[in-house]
Structure formats: C-alpha cells, structure tokens
C-alpha cells in the first residue's frame, strides 16, 4: 500500500479521547476575537496575569467609502454596507465579506489576545515517523528544516502530485515543535484536512493537535500544532511561527484576495511561510521565492502523460469513443475516475453508465452530495467500480490504482492546474505506478496543452 494512502476510520474514535496534556494557556496568543467571543474567552483567562493582554482595535477603519475590515481585511467598497445604527443614532458601516462569522460594524471592536511570556522549552511530540525518504524527498525535507530555522523566511516547495508532500513535512514540523515553535498547516479543502488529521495524529502522538474547519468541534481550541482550512486563519493575528500553505494554487486563493492577506497576518513577523504546490501559478512564480523542486514521485516512476482526444458531446453525454475507452479500461483491473465539468453533466451521465454497464457499480459524487465522504470511502474499498465526480476530487484524495478520464476537458472549470491535479490521481501506488489518463475534449484548449506540456517537463526533469 502506498504510504500516502491510509484509512480515515480512526477519526471518530479519537474525537472522544482527551488530549494527552491540557491546553496550555499560551496558545490563545494571537487570537482575534469579536465582543461575544472575547466575553467567553475572558471566563477562561486570568486577566490579572501580567503576561496576558488584550488589544482593542476598531473593527472597520478608513472613511469616505474607502474602508478596511480589520477582521477579514476586505477593502472592496462594494462589500461594505451602511445602515442606520440604533445604538449610535447615526449611519454605521458593516462588512459583508465576513458576515458569516458574525456581523462586524464600524462602531464595534475587535480584540487581539496576547500572551507574552512564551516559554520555548522543548516539547515532547512522541514522534513516530521512521520511514526512509527518497533522495528527492530528503532534499526537500532538509530545505524545509533550514527555512524553519531562518527567521522571516519563505520557501516554495514545487512537488509533483504523488511526490509524498506530507512525508517531506514531518521532519520539519517535528523540528519546529521541538524548538517550541507554533505551527499551522492550512489547505483550502475540508476533505483534505480531514484526511491529513489521522496521519498527523499517528506521527505526532503526544501533541494536542487540533483540526479546524467550518463546523469542526475544535474551532474554539488553540494548540501548538493546528491543521485548518484556509478560511479558519481569519481568527488569528501574529499567532504562528511556521505557516505551511498547502495547494496555494487552488481555487479560493485566486478567487478571494483577502485569504492570502489573512494568511500573512496569521504569521508572526519573525515567522516562516512554506508554500506547497504541484502547479504554481504565474503570480507565485513571479515572486521568485526560494524554490525546492521535487519532480519525481515517491515511487520513482514517471507521471502518466494524459492523452487528448477530440470528442463531440453534442449527441450524447456518453459518446461512442468514450464508451469504447471505458469498455477497454475495464480489462485493466483498475478502478475508473470520471471527471465531469458540472453537476448537471454528472446527473445526465450516471443513468446512461448504469444502463450500459449493468454488472458494474457506478456512483457519482459532487459538491452538493451529503454522503460524499461515504462514497469516496466505498470507492477506496473498491465497492464502487466507476466513480463520476466533479472537480471536488481534483486534489488531496488518493486512490491506489485508478485510471482517470476527463469528459469535456475543454470546459472552463478545467484550467491547467486542475488538469495537472486530475492527471495526478493516476499511478499513485508503488505496486501500480502506471495509469491511463484521457482528456476527452470538444476543443484543444490552452489549458489542456499547457497541462500536458508541464507533465512532460516534470518527467524530463525527473529522469535526469
């Protein structure tokens, strides 16, 4: 079995257990709170302690239509609204961009909790990671440790899908924790964070690690090691010594400029930030960060190169050459991931596939599917032969032996990064490092072309 692939069953069991040691007070350092949250926190804190302090800040600064929300750092004038405030008896402003975290108005305050006396005595982490790294992984791992030891440093780790990113991080995180540094690892997607949690718990057995995402039980806790979705960083200011930003090319960042600003704010000014990606965007490359390159998968085999095939989807959601390719694929013994552009396309395709392949178990997952993690689990246990999915399974999730077909690869949702990520689902395990990737398209887009080119380039670099 691939080291990247591990079961997620342990999660519910661990939830009930208490953390091995109590939450040290010092990790509330850096929390950014609104009035209600502060009232709740103050019940836990000893305000007579001279090391604990609360800084009050105006929630929304600026004037004459140029405002900045100090919580979400939104500056878009169309994302502020004015209203007749019943308390102030005048017009006040509130931020729409972070309304879902509770309304913040210009007459309200934000509070920044600080705990100054931070001991830096070594922390016993119960580190259990003993696997040997490949030479490429080792190089990256050492670069990460070096970056962590350097104040105010940045590092871009550019690693192909399936390079074993998480394994490269363990030694660096261990090093940081040992030296009393506070670490956060963020990734845009909840699914990914939930998959990472059991793996981190298995490696850092004595660390009271917390996992924050929308609706998580851990959202009120603070710890020396935090796994969280990107959006959760909104609650921190100058809190972390090391911030690891996974999938920095992924959807929410280029969609929401505030997220990057919030991540930067969550880091202390002496801190280290490490970006991880398989598909860096131009804007990131332009910054010319120190870069560590991992062009080879952990099993040493090249990435499967996608084959583009012109296919018209006008007549049927399942054109004959796609049908033929699937029939042939069934001989390979691998499971099949079928990526589609839209939920509607998935809904049209599913009954046709079930009709044509009666003996097979065909299922679909998409963002609105409530039992999506269950379907993914079934697919992983090979109870499902063909899984139709939208781009939600584009990254982070790993299946040992799959072929990957993309239907309507020319659609807007499939940009270069998405296609590279999707192709990267194939050939992930040591026992079956190959896989077939097809891009069925109605037009050879720039994204398809660049994706195939960048995969080939990685393979060339890796062969050296």
């Amino acid at each position: 079995m691939s080291p990247v692939h591990r079961s997620i069953n342990t999660e519910s069991k661990d939830k009930k257990q208490k953390h091995p040691f109590a939450q040290p007070l010092r990790y509330v350092d850096g929390l950014l709170l609104d009035h209600n949250q502060l009232t709740k926190r103050l019940k836990q804190l000893d305000m007579t302690d001279e090391h604990v302090s609360v800084t009050t800040m105006t929630a929304i600064t600026g004037r004459w239509g140029f405002y900045t929300c100090q919580r979400c750092l939104n500056q878009d004038p169309t994302l502020f609204s004015s209203f007749p405030c019943g308390k102030c008896q005048k017009t006040c402003i509130y931020c729409l961009a972070c309304l879902k975290y509770g309304r913040l108005a210009s007459c309200q305050s934000l509070f920044h909790l600080r705990v100054t006396d931070r001991e830096t005595k070594p922390v016993a982490t119960g580190f259990t990671f003993t696997s040997t790294l490949t030479s490429h992984q080792l190089k990256a791992s050492q670069a990460i440790i070096k970056a962590i030891d350097t104040t105010k440093s940045q590092l871009l780790v550019h690693a192909v899908c399936g390079a074993g990113k998480t394994e490269m991080l363990f030694h660096g995180i261990q090093h940081a924790l040992e030296t009393g540094k506070r670490v956060a690892l963020t990734t845009p997607r909840q699914d990914v964070i939930k998959e990472l949690l059991p793996r981190f718990k298995a490696v850092f057995t004595r660390v009271p690690l917390i996992c924050q995402y929308g609706g998580s039980d851990d959202n009120r806790l603070t710890s020396i090691l935090t796994l969280c979705t990107t959006h959760q960083l909104i609650r921190y200011k100058e809190a972390f010594d090391v911030l690891i930003i996974d999938e920095v090319d992924a959807f929410p960042y280029h969609n929401d400029p505030n997220l990057i600003k919030q991540s930067q704010r969550a880091l202390k000014d002496t801190g280290t930030v490490i970006y991880l990606t398989a598909t860096p965007r131009k804007s990131l490359l332009k910054q010319k960060l120190p870069t560590c390159f991992v062009p080879v998968r952990y099993h040493g085999q090249p990435l499967p190169v996608p084959q583009a095939q012109f296919t018209s989807f006008k007549r049927s959601p399942l054109p004959s050459n796609v049908y033929k390719a699937i029939s042939e694929q069934r001989q390979s013994g691998r499971q099949l991931l079928l990526f589609v552009a839209t939920i509607k396309q998935a809904e049209q395709l599913l009954p046709i596939l079930r009709e044509k392949f009666k003996s097979l178990n065909v299922e679909a997952v998409h963002a609105t599917e409530s039992d999506r993690s269950l379907r993914v689990k079934h697919f992983r246990h090979k109870a499902i032969d063909i899984l139709v999915t939208t781009t939600i399974l584009e990254r982070g999730v790993t299946f040992p032996s799959v072929d990957v077909y993309v239907l309507k690869a020319d659609h807007d949702v499939f940009d270069e990064a998405a296609l590279v990520q999707i192709a990267g689902r194939a050939g992930r395990s040591k026992s079956d490092p190959a896989g077939t990737v097809y891009f069925f398209h109605e037009g050879y887009t720039k994204a398809i072309k660049s994706a195939i080119r960048s995969i080939k380039r990685m393979n060339q670099l890796g062969a050296k």
Binding site: T78, L79, S81, F83, P84, C85, G86, K87, C88, C92, Y94, L96, A97, L99, K100, G102, R103, A105, C107, Q108
Partner: protein
C-alpha cells in the same frame, strides 16, 4: 450589483435607468428565497391562513382584545424563517431590503380604509439593541411612507425563540410608554417581523389601549 445574501456579483445590463436610479435590491438565482404570500382564506382577526375565512380557535379565546386585527404579507415557512434568521441573528441589516415593494403594496391594500394612521414598530430592549444595532421592526416600518411613533419601549427579557408556547403566553408585559412623547391621536398600526402566538403584539396593544388609543391594528411581515 451584488446578491443580498451571498454577495456575489449579479450580471446586470447597464442602462440609463440603472445608472441614474437606485436599483432595487436583488438576489442571485441560487439565493432567491421562495417566499409564499398569504392568499386564500384566513382568520379575520390574526390573518392565519386556514380553510375558511372566520375567527380561528386561538383568537376566539381572546376576550375583547385591544388589538382589532392583524394583517401579514408572507407565510411564516422555512424560507421566511431562514430570512429572518439572517436578519435577526446574523445581524444582516439589508437582508429584507428587497421586500420593500411587496410589503408597501400589501400594507396599502390591507389598511386602505384606515385613515390618518401612525406606525408603531415593536421595540427591542436596550440590551438587544446593543447587540443587534438595529430593530428589525423599524426596518419594516421604514418601508411604509407613514408617520412613525417611537415612544413605545421595552424591558429586557429572555429571547422569545427560547421559550415554549405556554411560557410565552405567561410572560409579563414588557412594554411601557415614554412619558415625554405625545401619543399619536388617530388609529395606530403596530409593526413587527412575525406574528406567532400574538402575545407580543397583544401585550403592546394593551399598553396602548390603557393609554387611551382606541383603534389598534397590527401588520407583520410573516404569519
């Protein structure tokens, strides 16, 4: 132009009309709430939708109420509940903004026979105002171009939503009048977001009746 609930941009053709006139607030296709207007038969007093137009059993129990009758615009269904939650508990002042037109129309339809009326929004306590920074009933009364009386006040009580029906019916009257403000002379219409048991509105009506106001009606967004 952004959706009032998810704040994503809504594509809209720019014309001279949209340039020079304030555009009425809107929702995107995904967020548009499917509100149901009250049509068909209803209770003549509380405007509860029911099979026949007559006084409902709850209203029949009230002996000579100070509140003459209530009129509402929408059914208090899941969609309306969601909207009021966004307004009252997520404190989004503009959540109801797009309802201005239908609310105004419904009001003038229902109260066209009542002349020289004054609106009285059901107040919130100072504590609630401190937290919410606005009163949702005032948002609704501001949609209707009629004089408003702000002299009705309220003591702080536990949240209505946390109480069951029986507790609500037994709560003491939290309302009182500001002695410094002259009372409106004509008929008054109490304004609130929702009529559930009616306790709140009847409490307010009792206070006004004791002060000598004769014709008291109420108008709510939802019933």
């Amino acid at each position: 132009m952004r959706c009032l609930l998810c704040f994503k941009s809504i594509e809209q053709a720019v014309s001279w009309h949209t340039l020079f006139q304030p555009v009425t607030a809107q929702y995107c296709a995904a967020c548009r709430p499917h509100l149901t207007k009250i049509t068909g038969a209803y209770c003549k007093r509380c405007h509860r939708p029911q099979a026949k137009t007559k006084t409902c059993s709850d209203c029949a129990k009230r002996n000579q109420p100070a509140l003459l009758y209530n009129r509402s615009v929408y059914c208090y269904d899941a969609a309306m509940k969601d909207m009021l939650i966004i307004c009252k508990y997520r404190h989004h002042y503009h959540a109801l903004s797009s309802l201005t037109k239908p609310v105004r129309q419904a009001f003038f339809n229902q109260f066209k026979t009542v002349k020289h009326l004054t609106l009285i929004p059901i107040p919130v306590s100072d504590e609630r105002m401190e937290e919410r920074l606005f009163n949702q009933a005032t948002i609704i009364s501001a949609m209707i171009p009629r004089p408003v009386f702000f002299g009705l006040k309220r003591h702080h009580q536990e949240k209505q939503a946390k109480k069951n029906r029986k507790q609500r019916l037994q709560t003491p009257n939290p309302f009182y009048l500001d002695p410094h403000l002259p009372l409106p002379t004509g008929p008054v219409v109490l304004i609130d977001d929702v009529y559930t048991t009616g306790t709140t509105l009847h409490h307010a009506a009792n206070v006004l009746a004791e002060a000598g106001i004769e014709a008291i009606y109420s108008f709510t967004l939802a019933r």
